[in-house]
Structure formats: structure tokens, C-alpha cells
């Protein structure tokens, strides 16, 4: 299969990556080549196996919901590019 320029632009939007025309062009070719190489997956018979999401062997790790100290508002906001009092400041959601 082959990726179109529109496919690549769609994926970039899903990933929230603002890419230049040159980048879209480059990734179109590179992703095509990588996906072609990944076709090797289909050489493995997986008709009788389940998916592996993780290999640690742990299932449903729970802990008690006990209050604990946390880093607090000031430290949580210390790296914020823009803040407004005790909040992160963001641009309007609608254009």
C-alpha cells in the first residue's frame, strides 16, 4: 500500500504536529518505506495467539486510595510557560 499526501497530513493533525510542506513530503516517502519493511509482520502466523500488551505478568495493580502529600500548586506550576494565578493559561479553545 502507499500513503497519500492527504493521509500524511491527516496523521500529522491527529498527532497535533504542525509540519511544513517539505516535512510532509519527506515523511510521506519515509513512512511508506518503513511500512513496507513492517510488512514482515504478515510472515508470522498469529492465527492461534493472543495479543501481548505487556510482559511483566502483573494484572490489575491496585493500591488503597489513601491521601498522601503531593507537590502542591506552586511546584506544579513552576515550569508553566504561562500561568494565571493558580491556573495554567491556555489560548481559546475555539478559533
Amino acid at each position: 500500500m502507499s500513503l497519500s499526501r492527504d493521509d500524511v497530513a491527516h496523521v500529522a493533525m491527529l498527532a497535533r504536529l504542525g509540519l511544513s510542506d517539505a516535512e510532509l513530503e519527506q515523511y510521506q516517502h519515509q513512512l511508506d518505506a518503513i511500512l513496507d519493511a513492517i510488512g514482515k509482520l504478515n510472515e508470522v502466523d498469529t492465527s492461534a495467539v493472543a495479543e501481548t500488551a505487556q510482559v511483566g505478568g502483573l494484572v490489575n495493580v491496585w493500591r488503597d486510595d489513601e491521601p498522601r502529600p503531593c507537590i502542591g500548586t506552586e511546584r506544579a506550576l513552576a515550569n508553566a510557560p504561562e500561568r494565571d494565578g493558580p491556573y495554567f493559561r491556555v489560548a481559546a479553545i475555539q478559533e
Binding site: 500524511v8 504536529l17 514482515k40 509482520l41 510472515e43 493472543a50 510482559v55 506544579a76 478559533e95
Partner: protein, 492 residues
């Protein structure tokens, strides 16, 4: 002029600290002097934490004076940390522009366990951006030079952590390994690099790349030192839900037990086309050394090895595309203004991430997107099951596997511009991550004057066995004495 400890081991430094032959402050002064002499050529350090290190060294000297021989093994020993590990208040970039200036508000568990032992942190090390790469050429802060030949790559992604040990600046460092990012640079720099079993070392405080694959581990000069650092950082952590609650065995108890009577497997699929003749020769010689020590050696087969790379390049990018969604220009790091929140996300992430990170986010987003999920992501997860099951079956017959770590020795910077050619660097290390196994790379000689790495792989949670096999080879071969010209140059 105090005795030089450039290129010396943790064990040697710890003994010298306890005998009074040196102090932690002197070790730190020596490490800073050597770092400043060589780093202009290798570009291995990002943040330098000299003031913090001096306070830690003074505290370590006081602790050794107080506790003597019972002071922890790493007390007063200098260390460097890959710049994906957070330490409270110390600049952390993951070698990316997108979080330049970030000051972590907490310390990760593995790092905290070193601090609890009295470690002296010399700084943060350069790596591929967000640990994505095999040559350290993907860093936003420039490539790292290999101490054996600075025109060549040190491997990646933990290239800086490998280089600082190979150059003799520090006796150990921490890295992270998602598809080979500790073992491959260890092979290319002639150091020991150990990736423990998935879940052995807490990932709390490791900037996430691919959460089902990432694991923290050490670079050292010797297998014994790797066991020392592993013992310090391994163990359950409630702050990482994937951290294993099973008890950690003490690797020192079995480290010197040798390999007589052990069954070692040589996976035939790991002697691939593209394996350099010099690498093949050194690894075959190493296998003969192990046979000479009384191990039985047999050829085994892991038939789906060839599909490992493809499996990895779906699963790792898929997880990375999800993990890196957090870099949104709102809570930390770079922010580029846009007329709306969406435009701000696009502008920030478009400007902040480098080319390889964008490529992997794109690949992962595609593999997870509607219509392609089953064909790529679900299929890769099934192949992962097959790969892990093949290892499990082989470990019914043999105790450990021995094979090459990297198909090649260190290559020249700029030699692999094609992404797929670069991805092939990790063809022999990736299956270990997919199956969650412990794996170590240790030096087994030189090819054309450059280090070759021997990889030892064991069953899940048999980390001590992997260290034992590696130690037996190392002691018999004398390979632990291998040091880069930057160490010899400092001693001269």
C-alpha cells in the same frame, strides 16, 4: 598530585575510600578535571552539577568516616545520569528542545536509590532525543563522540552515558534501554551495559518513551560493578505499577559460581547477514572461552527473530505517540503561541520535536488510527506473543543465550542517514525488550581497533544468572581490562 582514578572501577574506588587512600572529594575533583579535559571532544554532558556533587561528596566522606566498611557500596562514587532521568531541581531535557529549561519537581526512584547510598552526581548525559535512536546523532544538543574514535558514534540512545564510562570520567552511569539503548552503546564503546528484566527497576522518574519496553540499567567497566549498581536500583516500587513485587535475588551470591555444567544456547538467527566478520570472530572466540570453562554450548533457533524489528517499530512508536502527547506547551517546556489552543499545540510540537521523534510519533499515530489498528498494532502485539513464547521454549532447553550485541562495530558519524538502515542497529537487541528479558553486553575484544560486544540473555527474573555467565567470561578472557585511548591518555 593525588592518585588518578581515571578508568578505575567502582570496587577499586570503594576500597580506596575505605582504606583512606582517597576521599570522595578527591574522586570528584579527579572526575571533574578529566571531564573538563575530554568533554570538548565527546560532548557527553548536558547539565553539570558540580555544586550539588561537592555537597554530596562532603556528605559521603563524613558518612564513610562514620560508618566505615558498612557504608553502602556506592557511597562517595561519582555517577552520571542519562538526561531522561529526573533529579529534583536539576535541568532535564531528554536531549529535546521541547522541554529545554525544565526543572523537575521530584526525583525518580532509581536515582533516589543511588542518592540513598551516598552517590555523587556529576551531571546529566547527552542521548538521542527522548531516547529514540541508535547513534546519539538525534540529540538536539549535538552528537556524542566515541572515546575510541571521536569521529565515530558511541551508539545510542544512551550514547553519553556509555561515553562517560568509556572515557573514564565516571566508573558508572545510568541509561535506559527500550530496544537496545544500553546494550548497543555498551558494545560500541567497550563498556558493560546491563538491561535488567522488565519490571525489576522502577520507571518512576524516567521520561517515558515506550512504557511496556523501557527499563533503566547501568553502564560500568566490569560485570561485578554492574551487579553492584543493579542491587542498588532493583526492587519493587509502589510508584510504578509495572514494577515487579517478586523478591530480588542478590547477584553477588552467585556471581563467582562459574559456568561449569551450565547449558548455553547460541541462537542461529543472531548470526545474520550483515554481521561483520570481525564481530562474528570475536563472539565465536568468546563462546569457545565459555565452552572451555565447562559450559555446554548448543545451537538453538528463535525463528521469528526476523520479525522483531517490524514488531518493535509498531509497538514502540505507538506507545511513544501516546506518551509524548503530554508535551503540549501548556504545563512545561517550550510554548509557541497560536490563535487557538489547537494552533498552539501544532506550532509548539512542530517546532519542539526533532525529525526522528516526529517520524516515530507519525508512525505510531498511523498504526493506532482507525482502520489500521488491527493490521498494524494488534498484529504486532500478536507477533510479540510469538517472539516471547519462542524465548520461553528455548529456555526450557538452555540456561542462557550468548550472541553478538550489535552487528557492527562503531560506525562513522553521518554514515546512516536512512532511517531503516539506522533501525537495523538494534536487530539483535530488540527481541529481548519485546520479551522483557534481562540482557547484558560486555566487551569481548576488538575488531579493527574498535570494541565488540558479547550479549548474554537470560529468562525473566534470572538477572543474577546473566551476570554470572558474563562475569565468568570476563574473568577468563581479561576483557574487563579493555580501556579506551582517553583512559590511557589520562594515565600517561
Amino acid at each position: 598530585m593525588p592518585q588518578s582514578f581515571v578508568g578505575r572501577t567502582i570496587a577499586e574506588m570503594a576500597a580506596a575510600l575505605r582504606s583512606g587512600a582517597t576521599t570522595a572529594v578527591q574522586l570528584l575533583d579527579g572526575a571533574i578535571a578529566h571531564r573538563d579535559a575530554v568533554d570538548g571532544r565527546i560532548n557527553a554532558f548536558l547539565a553539570r552539577t558540580d555544586d550539588l556533587a561537592r555537597r554530596q561528596a562532603q556528605a559521603a566522606d563524613a558518612r564513610i568516616a562514620r560508618e566505615g566498611a558498612s557504608a553502602p557500596a556506592l557511597c562517595g562514587i561519582p555517577v552520571a545520569l542519562k538526561d531522561v532521568l529526573v533529579l529534583d531541581g536539576v535541568p532535564t531535557t531528554a536531549s529535546s528542545k521541547i522541554i529545554e529549561g525544565f526543572l523537575p519537581p521530584y526525583t525518580g526512584t532509581a536515582v533516589q536509590r543511588l542518592l540513598d547510598q551516598g552517590a555523587v552526581v556529576l551531571g546529566k548525559t547527552n542521548c538521542d532525543e527522548f531516547a529514540m535512536g541508535s547513534s546519539n546523532e538525534n540529540s538536539a544538543y549535538g552528537p556524542v563522540g566515541n572515546p575510541w574514535d571521536v569521529e565515530r558514534v558511541p551508539g545510542g540512545s544512551s550514547g553519553g552515558s556509555a561515553a562517560v564510562v568509556a572515557a573514564g570520567v565516571v566508573p558508572y552511569s545510568l541509561g535506559s534501554d527500550t530496544g537496545g539503548s544500553i546494550r548497543q552503546p555498551a558494545a560500541l564503546t567497550g563498556t558493560v551495559g546491563f538491561k535488567p528484566t522488565y519490571g525489576r527497576v522502577s520507571r518512576y522518574g524516567l521520561i517515558a518513551f515506550a512504557s511496556s519496553l523501557d527499563q533503566i540499567g547501568p553502564f560500568t567497566n566490569t560485570v561485578e560493578d554492574a551487579a553492584t549498581v543493579y542491587s542498588a536500583i532493583a526492587g519493587h516500587d509502589p510508584l510504578d505499577s509495572t514494577s515487579s513485587p517478586t523478591a530480588v535475588e542478590d547477584p553477588m551470591e552467585t556471581l563467582r559460581n562459574g559456568v561449569a555444567g551450565m547449558r548455553l544456547g547460541v541462537p542461529r538467527e543472531y548470526f545474520v547477514d550483515g554481521l561483520e566478520p570481525g564481530v562474528r570472530a570475536r563472539v565465536e572466540e568468546a563462546i569457545e572461552v565459555l565452552r572451555g570453562l565447562g559450559a555446554s554450548v548448543e545451537e538453538v533457533s528463535l525463528p521469528s527473530t526476523d520479525a522483531g524489528l517490524a514488531t518493535y517499530y509498531i509497538i514502540a512508536p505507538a506507545e511513544c505517540s501516546s506518551n509524548l502527547a503530554r508535551f503540549d506547551g501548556v504545563r512545561f517546556g517550550m510554548h509557541v503561541d497560536g490563535v487557538s489552543l489547537l494552533r498552539s499545540y501544532l506550532a509548539t510540537r512542530g517546532a519542539g520535536f526533532g525529525p526522528e521523534v516526529k517520524r516515530r510519533i507519525m508512525l505510531g499515530t498511523y498504526a493506532l488510527s482507525s482502520g489500521y489498528y488491527d493490521a498494524y498494532y494488534r498484529k504486532a502485539q500478536k507477533v510479540r506473543t510469538v517472539i516471547a513464547a519462542e524465548f520461553d521454549a528455548v529456555f526450557e532447553k538452555v540456561d542462557a543465550l550468548v550472541c553478538p550485541t550489535s552487528p557492527t562495530v562503531a560506525f562513522t558519524q553521518g554514515a546512516r542517514e536512512d532511517p531503516i538502515a539506522m533501525y537495523l542497529c538494534d536487530v539483535l537487541t530488540i527481541p529481548v525488550n519485546l520479551a522483557g528479558l534481562p540482557g547484558i553486553s560486555l566487551p569481548c575484544g576488538l575488531s579493527d581497533g574498535l570494541p565488540v560486544g558479547l550479549q548474554v540473555i537470560g529468562p525473566r527474573f534470572q538477572d543474577a544468572r546473566v551476570l554470572r555467565v558474563a562475569h565468568a567470561y570476563e574473568q577468563a578472557s581479561g576483557a574487563a581490562a579493555l580501556r579506551s585511548p582517553m583512559v590511557a591518555g589520562a594515565a600517561a
